[in-house]
Structure formats: structure tokens, C-alpha cells
Symmetry: C2
Subunit: 398 residues, 2 copies
């Protein structure tokens, strides 16, 4: 039997404390004595690793890790092995922790039945919603998290540098996507990415070629696509890619549990002047947003400015879709693909230093396909700093 | 603008009715006047396609499809476009449908917050849990669903026939898995599979080589593996595969929204007699279960017989894991990878004709790896009929 591992990697102990300390003031403000974290993404956030179980966090900043599996970690005052959540109150008692008067649970993520079960476990506690606190806590990244995302961005760029070589004449969009996925996986992509909620179902990203970019989809992605099956109606459709069409590649970079989101466009031969114009407009929007995106800027100002520039260039009808329009131009990104804030007209958040945002002002040109650029940025006092460095010009595959 | 599509494909109308009719008696038995289906897997089940929205099913068997997106379907008395669930009661009123006294919602799947929102929408209705009814309804497949699963099994077998050729000396388990995933995708695999709940996070399946098969994982899969990242601790670990080790391939076949689950084992050169013995024991277990698995058989009898055979061959310590043991030997499978029934000692279900089960009696041999076979079966009056036809013998990759 090998030596028992520490659940909290010693090098990460300080990092984990930093994350949890972020939550404590928000808990106090909400009158929450403790919070029980049970969703996969938030366990990974609270422990720096995923395990099955719960993280119990007190408003005094103490964290107890209740591990169901795997049973491979050294036990101590902070790490307790359980089989089921019903054991938690007694274990807390043994540790001298008083039952909480008010208890935060992730009401936006856990199923109704799971929450009802946990309510019975903490029958004496008032239940509050911990989801908004975790969402807001995770929205601003620590320096360590930003380093992980930079690393992801470098891997993702290395993959994008290989994309032109993967194209073969008369390939379908799906075949092209498969070769990109393979290179992505060989670069170290985990082959899975976390998304929040059920409004998105996705493997490693999306490749949209030609008119398929204009097919409305069932999902909440910026762009659509019909998919190849009524079981999963989104993304590539299996058609051969033709001269005069664009190919939008938006395949993700999840190499370490964090993600960067980057989109670039390739073309099959020459594409129409309108497509070029719209692509350049997307780049112009990004340059403006990079400049104004500083701590204190209203998130909705990013949205409004993007919409205004598209309108000024008379491209509104193509902006964020043509037959179906998305009502956001970007989103927070990190452990999950779709984090706070959503960059919409109605967002009430202000930018804060350390937020990480994917901005994706895109256009769909009928008969040609999708154009535009997406980068992942971190908010700094000097504006938005890109984590996804790869040439933004459209590249011709022929 | 192209012609509007029918939401319910006319060829599938009868099929969809058949599925919904299955639910009606269970609704009546539970005193449920109506059910509002809102989870992705169940919408796909209830409509034969996925869309974002809700399916409202009355205990009289009438179904109304409330579509949020995509807005591409022909409207009629059964298909209503909405922006949000708050519009549903008024729309039902226009259709002459009375408010339900009791309302089924998927409490095991929808988030607590989503359920609370729907409860407000149907404030006059008592809320009941629709999840068990949908789980039981989906457990027994229609002939059409079984045909789709047969088709999946054929595709999956075609992929498995190519696996031996993908191996190169000194490959890592992850590299081998990537080449298998590519062939799987080229064969038509959708590149995504649905799982129920958050106890599993998976891309297209698992490749477990050598001692990594003995690493306990955080997930509820039959086998473990450490994974390559603390963000996703399960499956292949990135080590080179060595002579004397087994490679267990359990990559899934989701080609049309349904799945078959099949596992086969390859070896790097010769492996130990114990590994061979355990592999043959797995096959013997399957032969016995295929025979006794008839309508009316207790599900737990399948479990008990498998355990008894492993014990008889003195292989219990390796059965369903070695350092960590799974407490099931199989599971229902269909739209989701993990459907009812779970084949455990405590299951109270009886087998019914048309159930589809993945049976996976597996062993982990320390220092060698995992062995055993998994097939997906349909329950028939003559016993279990396999949907996954591929030679069961271990194949040597050298």
C-alpha cells in the first residue's frame, strides 16, 4: 500500500484558503453560518481537486472535507471519510463544531431531491441559497487560477497552430472537427469540460462551416448549427465544406480543470467582401473592449459598445447570428465554460480585476458562414489582457 | 426561408405516443393529473428529438410541446412557442386544458431553484415527483428504441474491430484512447453521451491499462483509474503501457442518442494465468446470466449469481475492483449511460421484456490490470440477447 496522499496538496493549501476566504464575507453578509458545497465544479474549486463528497465551510473560515470516495486520503481534523451526508452532523459534533442556524446549499445546481435530503440532515437549520455566493466568489480568479488559464491558453494556441495542416479537400465539417479534437487531446486536453446547467451539451467545442452556421440550435451557445442527430441538435452537421465558405473553430482548451475559450476562422478559398468586413468589425470591437474593459467598467457597457459598433458598420442583422440571435457577446469562463458574468445588456455587474471573460462578437453571413474572433481575457487595471494568443486574421485552407 | 419542420417527425408520431402511453397508467396510479417534463434526456424521450422547453403530458395522454428554442417548428394545437415557463398556464387555458390539481415535476433531475420556479408557475397544484415514473417508463424500451440500440451496437463493434491496428509500441494509455476516440467519431459517434446525475463525468469512455485499473477513482463507474488531472480523477493516467499488462477498453457507442455499452480487453504480450482465469470467469458469469435473465427474474438474482460464481472460483478479492469495489455488476442503459435498474444486491425490480441492460462482471488483477467482458443485452422471453457482437477473448496487441 502506497503512502496516503494529502487531500489538500500542501503546495495548494494557501491557494485553497485564499479561495475560501473570498466566500466568508459574502456568507456573513447573507447571514449564513455555514455552507455545504456538494457540486462537482465547486468541490474542485474548494479543494483544488475533485472528489466525491462535501466541503463544509463555516463563516469563521474553517473548512472540513467530507470524502465519500476515493478513500485514499490521510484523515485528520479537516478530512473525514463518510458514506453518506446523514453522517455529517455527528461528525461535526465530534469536531466541536456547533450546528449552523442558517445553512447555505447550492440550490441552483443540486437537484430538488438532493436538497430535500440535505435539508433533512440539517433539519434545525434555515436553508439559504449558496449558489450566488459561489458564483460571485469564482467570478474573480486568484493569481494561481489565472496562471492555470494562461497555461491552457498556450496549449490551445499550440493546437490552433496545427489546424491548417489538418484540412483535406472535400472533408466534411465533422471530419475536420474530429482531426482537431485528436490534436487537442494529444496536446493534453482532458477530453471533457464542465458546463453549468443543462442549457448546453457539448463535447470539446464546435466547428461551424458554411450555411450550417445559420441553422438555429436548441442550445444557449453564441452560434448554432443543426448537428448530425435530433438527439443533439447543435454544431457541425456532416456536410462537405465548399469553396467560398468560412469554417469557425471554437474548440476548447481544458487542460488542467480550467478553460480558455478561443475562436478563429478559416476559409475554403476566397470568401465574400461582406464576410471580410464583418470579421474585421469583430476585431475592431475586441480592440475597443480591450481598452475600456477595466475595473469599474459596467459589464453591460461592453455589450452596448459591441452592439453600437456593429450597428455603425450596418452589420446588425448579422451580429450574434442571423436567423437566430444570441443576446450576449461573451461570458465569464474558468472551471466552467459558462461562468458569471454573462455579457448582456441587462448585466448589473462591474468589472473587477482578476475576472476572466471570453468575448465573442461574431457574425453569421448567409450563404458564407460565421466570422469573428473570440479571446479569453483577464481584467487588469490597464484593460483586458488576452490569454489566447493566435493570429486573428482569417486563414485560407486552400 | 425553408419549409417549417414538424416537431414530431410524422414517422415517429406513433412511437412517441407509445412512449407517452406507457407513462399514463403510472401517472394515474400516483394521482398525478399532469406532468411537466423539462430535463434534456426526458425531452428527447418524449419528443424523439431534443429541443429546449417543456413537454406537458396530461393523465389523459395528451401532450403539448412548449418550445423555447429553436423556433423552427410548425405551430399547431400541440406545439406552442414560449419564452419562459411562466407562459405555460395561460397557453394551457387557451387550449382548453384545466389547471392540474397535482403536477409531476422531475425532482431528481431539475435543480432546486428550477423546481421552485415551476412551483410558482403552478401555484395551485400539489407537486409530486415525476422522476421515478419517467425512470420506470424508460427502463423498458419500445421495439423502435431497441432497433436504435442494435444499430449503435453494430457501429460500436465496427470500431472495436479496428482497435488492434491502432496500437503502437510504447504508447501511453491516453494516446491509445485518443486513437480509439478518433475511429469512434469517424464511425459516427456523436462525441457526447448523456449520464444521469453528477456521480459520473466522462467524455466517450474509459481505457484502463495495467496497474492504473487498481487506482480508486472519485466516480461511480465499475472500474477506477487515477486520470491525468486532479480536476478529473478517473480513467487513463498517461503512463506507457507495458508487456504483461491488460488494456480494458470501455468506450461507448452513442450514435443516435441511444447507447450501447461494451467492454473488451486487449493485452500487451502475455499476461498472467490469474488474469486469464478471471477473464474466463467473467465470460462464464455472462453465459449464466444470459440464461437466467428472463422476464420475471429478480434483478438482484443476477447480482447474487455473479458474486457466487466469482466466489466459487476464489476470485472474490478481485471482483468488481481490488483496492476499491463497485457494488453493482451492471446497469440499465439507453438514452443515458446509467439508467434503471442498477444491478445490485438490493434492487427490488423484476426483469421485464424489452429492458436493456449492460452487464459488466469485471476483475482487477494487481500488477496486471482489469479483465472481463461487458455486453449490452435486451431481455427477451428466451433470455438475454446481446446487442454488442464482438469476440470476447483477450487479444494480444504485440
Amino acid at each position: 500500500m502506497e503512502k496516503e496522499q494529502q487531500l489538500i496538496n500542501p503546495e495548494l493549501r494557501h491557494e485553497v484558503e485564499l479561495r475560501l476566504e473570498r466566500l466568508v464575507p459574502m456568507m456573513k453578509e447573507s447571514g449564513m453560518d455555514a455552507m455545504l458545497i456538494g457540486s462537482n465544479a465547486n468541490i474542485f474549486y474548494a479543494a483544488g481537486r475533485f472528489f466525491r463528497g462535501y466541503v463544509y465551510l463555516t463563516a469563521q473560515g474553517r473548512a472540513i472535507y467530507f470524502v465519500i470516495r476515493p478513500d485514499i486520503y490521510a484523515k485528520n481534523d479537516d478530512v473525514v471519510v463518510i458514506r453518506k451526508p446523514e453522517q455529517i452532523p455527528a461528525e461535526l459534533g465530534l469536531l466541536g463544531i456547533e450546528p449552523p442556524k442558517s445553512m447555505g446549499l447550492e440550490l441552483d445546481t443540486l437537484s430538488y431531491s438532493d436538497v430535500e435530503r440535505l435539508k433533512k440532515v440539517f433539519a434545525e437549520s434555515t436553508v439559504l441559497n449558496a449558489s450566488p455566493i459561489l458564483r460571485r466568489g469564482r467570478m474573480v480568479k486568484t493569481p494561481f487560477e489565472i496562471r492555470l488559464m494562461k497555461e491552457d491558453g498556450e496549449h490551445q494556441a499550440a493546437v490552433y497552430h496545427k489546424i491548417s495542416r489538418l484540412y483535406k479537400r472535400d472533408m466534411t465539417d465533422v471530419e475536420f472537427q474530429i482531426e482537431i479534437e485528436r490534436v487537442l487531446r494529444l496536446e493534453g486536453c482532458l477530453g471533457f469540460l464542465r458546463v453549468s446547467g443543462q442549457l448546453m451539451e457539448i463535447n470539446l467545442g464546435s466547428v461551424l462551416a458554411g450555411p450550417n452556421a445559420d441553422a438555429p440550435s436548441a442550445y444557449d451557445f453564441a452560434m448554432g448549427g443543426s448537428g448530425v442527430s435530433p438527439a443533439l441538435p447543435g454544431g457541425a452537421c456532416g456536410e462537405i465544406m465548399h469553396v467560398g465558405e468560412t469554417v469557425m473553430v471554437d474548440v476548447n482548451g481544458c487542460f488542467n480543470g480550467y478553460q480558455t475559450d478561443m475562436t478563429r476562422v478559416w476559409t475554403i478559398g476566397e470568401v465574400s467582401p461582406l464576410a471580410h468586413k464583418a470579421h474585421e468589425c469583430s476585431r475592431r470591437i475586441l480592440r475597443v473592449l480591450e481598452e475600456i474593459g477595466r475595473p469599474g467598467t459596467e459589464v453591460r457597457e461592453l455589450y452596448d459598445r459591441a452592439v453600437a459598433i456593429a450597428e455603425e458598420e450596418q452589420l446588425s442583422q448579422y451580429f450574434m447570428g442571423h436567423r437566430q440571435h444570441a443576446l450576449f457577446i461573451g461570458h465569464g469562463v474558468g472551471i466552467e465554460l459558462n461562468e458569471a458574468p454573462a455579457i448582456t445588456a441587462r448585466c448589473r455587474d462591474l468589472l473587477q480585476e482578476g475576472m476572466t471573460l471570453a468575448l465573442e462578437p461574431k457574425f453569421v453571413i448567409p450563404g458564407v458562414g460565421a466570422v469573428g474572433v473570440e479571446n479569453t481575457y483577464v481584467v487588469t487595471e490597464h484593460g483586458l489582457e488576452s490569454l489566447t494568443h493566435f493570429p486573428e486574421e482569417m486563414q485560407n485552407l486552400l
